[in-house]
Subunit: 139 residues, 2 copies
């Protein structure tokens, strides 16, 4: 009963899963690596292994509870699925992550996939740049 979303995803309501889901829902970062989540867990004194964090995040992804992103930098970043699909714009200076939705781009993507004979399953779009703050700093 602790969290209806876990049941919905067909996952047993275990303590690690409840805690991790809670972190993803409440942490202002919104885009977190496994390590990020693990550190929060440690901070609150929870005894959850890093391996479990990885396992649970992958299960959440499979169950449609979170999305996995591959921002530059090697590690996977996770974000809880709430609200509609969106893409990301990232600052190469400070790491800030902004989100946007552009229906024209979405539409063009579908058209391109179709023209190439593909059935599109997914797509990922990242825009990299310098945010306003960082532009000032570099001058």
């Amino acid at each position: 009963m602790e969290n209806p979303n876990l049941k919905k995803a067909g996952l047993k309501a275990t303590l690690p899963r409840i805690k991790i889901l809670q972190i993803l829902e409440e942490n202002p970062l919104r885009h977190m690596s496994a390590e990020d989540v693990y550190k929060v867990l440690l901070g609150t004194g929870e005894d959850v292994g890093l391996a479990t964090v990885y396992r649970v995040l992958t299960q959440f992804e499979t169950g449609g509870l979170v999305s996995r992103h591959h921002f530059e930098g090697g590690q996977s970043v996770f974000e809880i699925n709430q609200g509609e699909h969106h893409d990301h714009i990232l600052c190469v200076g400070c790491g800030k992550v902004d989100e946007f939705v552009d229906e024209i781009i979405e539409q063009r993507q579908r058209a391109i996939a179709k023209k190439a004979g593909y059935v599109m399953t997914d797509h990922s779009l990242y825009i990299y740049g310098m945010c306003g703050e960082c532009q000032k700093k570099k001058m």
Copy 2:
């Protein structure tokens, strides 16, 4: 004198660099991981270390000779820079890689970055799906 592009990038014309550039130019795969390049080298009996392949590919990237892509799957994939910028559509079934250019999307991206206050430095767009071949196989 072996390859003008190396000089252009400010890199000494060493044997590993010459060979690797040649592979990137001539191999029909066009999108190759460091390991891919290394295997070709081994196949032709060259005595080049994998570490050197990684080093050289990174130098090529810095020198603008190649682009690095982060397709799903963990490892970096490299492609020689010739012709104009383009994005990629990848088959999740067989790994095929197709390329496309869409000026509308490029334009929208610039507009989005600008509106968010960013100076865009780069962007990456991957469309994932099932190619024509793979659609048939799965039925």
